[in-house]
């Protein structure tokens, strides 16, 4: 659990982060969104003390994050940034091994962990381990950047626009990979983005920042349904709201009894995808199948449209 309490950062007279308090539950993903310059990066960097706060406390599992020297604290917290920041003079394997080496793990354990992470990220350790970062594609570099951040099995992972430099297709894949890895390791992730789509898709909770202040901190559905201010409303994008709301739900939760013609849609697809498919094919209903391929029922245009309406 991460408790942020009355955190403020001032540079001379300008207040960059203004009295922010929030609690981040373990094993969840919190996404910080806001316009550029709203203080997202500064807030994130105060968690691992790359920036020292002017006032306030941050506690990790109850312990003040100032109870350790900064460098020791940072070894226990994963950190991934936009443009990955890989060390160009070190191989992929050496890059991933950075924090374990600093922590003094023995060579065999480091190798096991590096191989595990590379395999997890679909990078063959034999082929890619000895390469230098500039010999990889952008998507591969980004994966190595996240693997490096995860190498020492941190409970907490801080990510500052980690997918910002990726093209849309690789970006989607990177988001899915991250969600899968978060499930697998149970890592608490705090991710900064200015992309609302990404926030709704990735976040268990979303924190909206505006001019250094935390203006709303809630589940994505609530942010969409009850934006706390005109600013949040704009950020959410009024015209996109119903679709974002649908993208939060799975098809299996919108199933109605009955049958329909045509190719079945999987139950864990998003409701937004189902609606898009219905509209595109001009049909009133789609059959739904479970993970085992068995029919679950159907989804209808009418049913989905109701779900896209503002919740009561």
């Amino acid at each position: 659990m991460i408790e942020i309490e009355g955190i403020t950062k001032r540079y001379d007279a300008t207040t960059v982060v203004d009295d922010v308090s929030m609690v981040i539950e373990p094993r969840t993903i919190v996404v910080i969104v806001g316009t550029s310059g709203s203080g997202k990066t500064t807030l994130l960097r105060m968690i691992n003390r790359l920036v020292e706060p002017t006032a306030g406390v941050i506690r990790l599992d109850g312990a003040d994050n100032r109870s350790l020297p900064g460098y020791e604290l940072r070894r226990s917290i994963g950190y991934a940034i936009q443009g990955h920041g890989l060390f160009p003079h070190r191989t992929v394997a050496q890059n991933i091994a950075t924090v374990p080496v600093l922590l003094g793990w023995d060579a065999a354990r480091i190798k096991r962990r590096v191989d595990e992470l590379m395999t997890l990220y679909q990078l063959d350790p034999q082929a890619f381990g000895p390469r230098y970062p500039h010999e990889l594609s952008g998507g591969q570099q980004q994966r190595v950047g996240v693997a490096r951040a995860l190498a020492a099995e941190p409970n907490v992972l801080l990510m500052d626009e980690p997918f910002g430099a990726l093209d849309p297709i690789i970006r989607n894949k990177a988001q899915e990979d991250l969600l899968a890895i978060q499930k697998r390791f149970g890592t608490t992730i705090i991710l900064v983005t200015h992309d609302m789509e990404e926030a709704v898709h990735m976040g268990d909770k979303i924190a909206v920042m505006d001019a250094g202040k935390l203006v709303q901190y809630a589940k994505p559905a609530e942010i969409l349904a009850k934006p706390a201010s005109a600013f949040v409303e704009t950020l959410v994008g009024a015209s996109e709201k119903p679709f974002r709301l649908l993208s939060l739900g799975r098809v299996r939760d919108a199933v109605e009894t009955g049958t329909a013609e045509g190719e079945a849609i999987p139950g864990d697809a998003s409701q937004r995808d189902a609606l898009a498919e219905l509209l595109w094919s001009g049909r009133p209903a789609l059959p739904v199948k479970g993970a085992d391929g068995k029919p679950l029922g159907r989804v209808t245009v009418g049913g989905l449209v109701k779900r896209a309406a503002r919740p009561a």
Partner: protein
């Protein structure tokens, strides 16, 4: 294909030939007497005869090596110091100190150093050391202040201490630029060391000065050629190391 192969090999072959020629010349200068003989008058010796060329070459290299190692240590240490948060205020001061070392003519340094430390290698070492500081310091400063920001940020975020960042990230990343400074400094020192012989340092300058005193063009030429060959070979070798370290990091090199 074949032509490209030859082109790629030509510089290496030339370098190899130069190495062989240089070694042959300093170990068996007698072989080259017929070539130099036409440059002498009234039966003067064509090959330097007041000492072994090999010994002088090795002493010359030793002087340059000691001066360069000392200059590198001091210049890099200074650059590290003034790029740490605690040392920034010394940046302008150290810049001007090093610049003074450069603008002071080496001959003047020799003249001033002799009364203090006597004749021989010492005043030469002092002059070469002062003269070699600036290129290394300037390059080290450039290297350490133009590191990619997100790489330094990642090093800090990974939990490296200041010392670890310096040794594991900052110095390796600036190595190609620092090496460039060392290369410049070595080449300047190789040439400048010759004047050390005016204060009795044992360098190849001895051969040139002997030639000037006895009006023997062959001496002047052989002293000058050995220094030039050394400079070309060392410059080349250091350039190759620089390119290797830069290419490994994916940096483009000119």
């Amino acid at each position: 294909m074949k032509e490209a192969g030859v082109k790629a090999w030509l510089p290496s072959l030339l370098r190899l030939a130069l190495v062989v020629l240089l070694i042959a010349f300093v170990t068996n200068p007698g072989w080259f007497e017929p070539l130099l003989k036409p440059l002498t008058e009234s039966n003067a010796p064509a090959i330097y005869n007041q000492g072994s060329l090999l010994t002088l070459t090795l002493l010359h290299l030793r002087t340059v090596l000691i001066a360069t190692v000392a200059a590198t240590i001091v210049a890099v240490a200074l650059a590290i110091l003034v790029t740490r948060p605690a040392g920034v205020e010394f940046l302008p001061l150290s810049r001007s100190l090093v610049n003074i070392g450069q603008t002071f003519p080496p001959v003047a340094v020799l003249a001033l150093a002799v009364p203090a430390v006597g004749f021989g290698e010492k005043p030469t070492l002092i002059a070469l050391f002062l003269y070699g500081l600036l290129p290394i310091f300037e390059n080290a400063l450039t290297g350490l202040t133009t590191l990619p920001a997100n790489v330094v940020e990642a090093a800090r975020g990974a939990g490296m201490t200041g010392w670890q960042r310096l040794v594991k990230v900052e110095l390796p990343l600036s190595a190609p630029i620092i090496l460039g400074g060392i290369r410049l400094s070595v080449v300047i020192s190789l040439a400048t060391a010759t004047i050390g012989s005016t204060v009795a340092a044992r360098t190849l300058g001895e051969v040139i000065i002997a030639g000037l005193l006895s009006n023997n063009l062959a001496f002047v030429l052989q002293g000058g050629l050995i220094v030039a060959a050394l400079a070309v070979l060392i410059y080349d070798g250091l350039s190759a190391i620089e390119r290797y370290t830069a290419r490994r990091m994916g940096q483009e090199t000119a």
